[in-house]
Every structure is written in C-alpha cells, then in structure tokens.
C-alpha cells in the first residue's frame, strides 16, 4: 500500500511515480461501499421526499410541528441537564477522590455500552404505575394509586435521556481533568480561594472545551433518540424519529416519512458539523 509513502511526503507530489498506484485509488473501495449502502439510500430518501405535495402536506400538519417542537425542547433540556449533572459528577470523581472512585468511572464506561431503552425499562419499575416509588407510597399511605405518573409525559423521556446521556459528558470531562495541573488548584486554595470559587474560576474554564464537545454530541444524540421514546409508550410524546417510524411502518406513508426524515437529518447533521468544528478546536 502507498501509505508509507504518504506518511513521509505530501501525497500526490512525489516525483517518482512509476509503477505506483496513486494514493487516492486506495480510498475508492471503502468509499464505493459506503456510497452503495448509505449515500445512495439516503439520496433515495431525499428523492422520495420530493414527491408532489409531500412537503406542503407534512410541514402544514399539526402533528409534525408538535413533533418538531417536542424534539427540540427535549433535546435542549436534556443536554442542559446532562451538562450540569455530568460536570458535578466529574468534578467530584476527579477532585474529591473517594475509595471506589475508579470503579465508578469504570461503571460509567460500561453504562455507555448498554442500549438506551434499558433506562426506560428501568424507570417503568421505578416510577411506573406498578413499581418502587408508587409501591412505597401505597405501603406508607394505603392509597392504592401513587402520585408518580409522569413517565408517559415528556418529563419521563427527559429523565431517561438525562440519565442515559450524562456519561457521554462525564467521559470527556474526566479525560480533560486528568490532564489538568493540580498545582493550579493548590495555589488557588493556598491563596485562600474557597472550593466553589476554585470550581468556578479554575476548573470550569479548563472544562469548557470538553463541555462544549460533550454537550453538542449529546444534543445530536438526543435529537436522534428513538429507543427511549418508543419504550415510554406515551401517545402524547412524539419526536421526529418516532414520527418517521409511525409514518413509515404504522401508516405506510413513505413520502411523508421521507420528508420528516429529511428535516431530522438536516437538523442533526447541521448540529453535528458544529460539534465537529467545536471539538476540533478543543483538540478533543
């Protein structure tokens, strides 16, 4: 392969070109595979969405507008929640060490390898109509119906998304903190700064790039989240991915599904491009 050549000298300008295949030829097979299984299908979705009247129908429908609104506010609120929660957890793990802290960091890594719908499933046992919280209420007050019935509302989805996506913020933060000079903290503290002031004036500025990178990734993932919403089983909570699924599989209205898909893709790819820009600047 020509990679050894490319690593040493700028590609394409090598003066001795006899017998060697140009470097870019090696990039063609994987790109061809990607084009066949991903880009071409995506292009077909765009083409299908251009069916006459599809855009006007969907964009004018109340269900679409509601889904768009729900998706955006859920994603923004979840991201904000993840940032706050993730920052607090990461600061304690990194700077107020406790026995078992390493295990907790490991646990957070494992948490990332589980599918998201497990969280909703667990919340059903915690706050569902039968389940721990309502059961506890019944045991204590004798009232057969407990007070917790937020699971099928957007708040249930919000709680599940914050729980599931917080590790995506904690991990880059811990990586950033591990490279931080502890001497800065010692100096600030010996000069008399209180812990909260150190967090605000020393730790937070250092954490900003990691927070920005983690936060924008979580925002994109929340916009695209499907499993959590599906498992909630709430009729009242429809996000864009749910709408795509509903239109395509339940109603077999492919043109409408494609329109919603195009809107969703535009939203998340735009934000993802932003994320890549931010994280490249942050060096993450």
């Amino acid at each position: 392969m020509a990679s050894a050549v490319g690593a040493a000298a700028p590609a394409g300008r090598a003066p001795t070109r006899r017998r060697t295949t140009p470097v870019w030829v090696w990039a063609l097979p994987p790109v061809a595979v990607l084009a066949l299984v991903f880009l071409y299908p995506l292009a077909l979705v765009v083409q299908e969405s251009l069916a006459p009247g599809a855009y006007t129908d969907v964009l004018a429908s109340a269900s679409f507008r509601e889904a768009l609104g729900t998706t955006v506010w859920l994603a923004v609120a979840s991201t904000a929640g993840c940032l706050v929660l993730g920052f607090v957890l990461a600061v304690v793990i990194a700077f107020v060490p406790f026995p078992g802290g390493k295990a907790v960091a490991k646990f957070i890594d494992v948490f990332l390898s589980f599918p998201s719908f497990l969280i909703t499933l667990a919340l059903l046992f915690l706050y569902g109509t039968v389940g721990m919280a309502n059961g506890l209420w019944t045991d204590v007050t004798g009232d057969p119906a407990g007070p917790f019935r937020f699971l099928t509302t957007p708040w249930g989805v919000l709680l599940a998304e914050i729980t599931y996506f917080t590790p995506f913020v904690v991990r880059p933060l811990l990586a950033a903190f591990s490279q931080m000079e502890t001497a800065q903290l010692e100096v600030a503290s010996s000069l008399g700064a209180r812990p909260l002031r150190i967090v605000r004036q020393v730790i937070l500025p250092e954490a900003l790039p990691a927070l920005a990178a983690g936060g924008s990734l979580v925002l994109v993932l929340c916009l695209n989240e499907f499993g959590i919403v599906l498992f909630t089983g709430a009729k009242g909570v429809t996000t864009l991915p749910m709408l795509v699924y509903g239109k395509a599989i339940l109603e077999s209205d492919y043109a409408a599904a494609c329109v919603v898909a195009v809107v969703n893709v535009a939203l998340s790819v735009g934000l993802y491009a932003l994320y890549r820009g931010v994280s490249r600047r942050a060096g993450a």
């Binding site: 990607l34 979705v45 390898s113 599918p115 499933l121 059961g135 917080t166």
Partner: protein, 265 residues
Amino acid sequence: MLVHSRTGRWTAWIVFAVLFVPLFALPLLVIVAASFSTNWSGALPSGPTTAHYAAAVRGESLQALTTSLVTAVTASLIALTVGTWAALAGAALGRKGKRVLDALFMLPVAVPSVVVGLAVLVAYSQPPVLLNGTRWIVILAHTVLVTAFAHQSVSAAIERLDPMYEQAAAGLGARPSYVLLRVRLPLLLPSLNAAAGLCFALSMGELSATMMLYPPDWMPLPVLVFTATDRGSLFTGSALAVVLMTATLLVLLAVSRIRNRASFR
C-alpha cells in the same frame, strides 16, 4: 485535592451519592431485581422466580439471542474491515482528502438511526437489489451504523502511531504491502480489538433501525425485549434485557482479555 475540610468533603460525597445512586446504579439493579420476580406492587418486588430465565434461554428467545449475536459479529467484522481500510487510505491522503473521507464516514453517526433504517428500507425494497424480508437487510443496516465508530477509533489510533517503525522497515527495503501487514497492522491490533468491542456492543443494543427493518424470521433480542414490554410482560422483558446485557458484557470481557494477552507479547 480540592476540598480540604472534612465536612466539605463529606458534603461533596453525599451530593455525589444522592445523584449517582438513584440515577445510575438503581436502574440496573431494578432491572435485575424485576427479572427474578413475578410482581411489583410494593416498595420491593415480590414472588421470586427464575421462570423468566428458563423461558429466556429457549425457543423464540434463544433464537433472538443467536440472531443478535450473529448480526453483531457479522456487522462488526465487515465494519472493521471497511472502517480500517478507509482509515488507512485516509491517512495516506493529504489533509484535504482525509477531511472529506472522515466527514463521509462520520455521517452515519449524525444521521438518526431511524432514518438509516428508512433509507436502507427504501433502497433495498426495490430492484436492482431486493433485500427486504431477508436477514441481510438488518445486517446491512447494523454495518452502516457501526462502521462510523470503527473508522473513527482506528483513524485516531493511526494518528497516534509512531511513524519511526514503518520508516525503519521501509528504509530496510520492506515493500509497502510488507510494511502494512507486518508492521502497521500488528501495531494497530489493540485499537482494532477495542473498536471490535465497541461495534459489537452497539450492534447488540441497536433498536431504532432494526425496528424499521426486521423480517419475522430474523428478530434480534432488543426487538423481542420491546415486544415483550409492549404487551405488558415487563418481567419477561427485563429477564431478556439482563440476558442481553450479560451477553454483551461477556463478549466485551473476552475481547479485552484477548487485547491484554496480545499486548503482553
């Protein structure tokens, strides 16, 4: 050390525990507890049983587990091949070319999985290639989704690779193919192994695209977990979820053991 006073430290730890335990530890414990019980109307589950597990390891459930495993292994292997190839080719390109290639291969992460499912469904339900209704459409979608992660981790590893080794080998007269097979790929082996684990875990838990595509005879475990909970069998669903988590963790553990052994050699 950020907090020097004893009370301050305890306050921080208590805040941590109050946030961490109910949000992260409890959910997993609750699923495990529910999978062993028949009823949950009080504070704690009741009616201990292992019947859900007995049901989870035979018939339809066992088939779903093997379906998931076969899908995940196949998708991971293909994704690893394509992703590594793209990463190696990208490293050889100039800055601009590498950027385009990276952006192309990262695109499936930004596109919602449901849309990947829809796109694959639309494209392969019509000629020239008819895959709808076969297992291959599920494997294809999983491959698309995990290739991005394989490419990302391998190309990050290539960037960290010390170019001295390959330059030394090339300087000693090794042909490019020899350098690739005997120097670069062995050096990349730990990262390839880690990427394989990541792809496998992602594919095992994939639900969004699968929901759009699965044929009746190729139903992965997450779909079965959903159908169980959807018809109200929450306890069966949680037993299946525990089987899913355990299978994923066991494979991840095996993969990381191979990695450790390889790095000792």
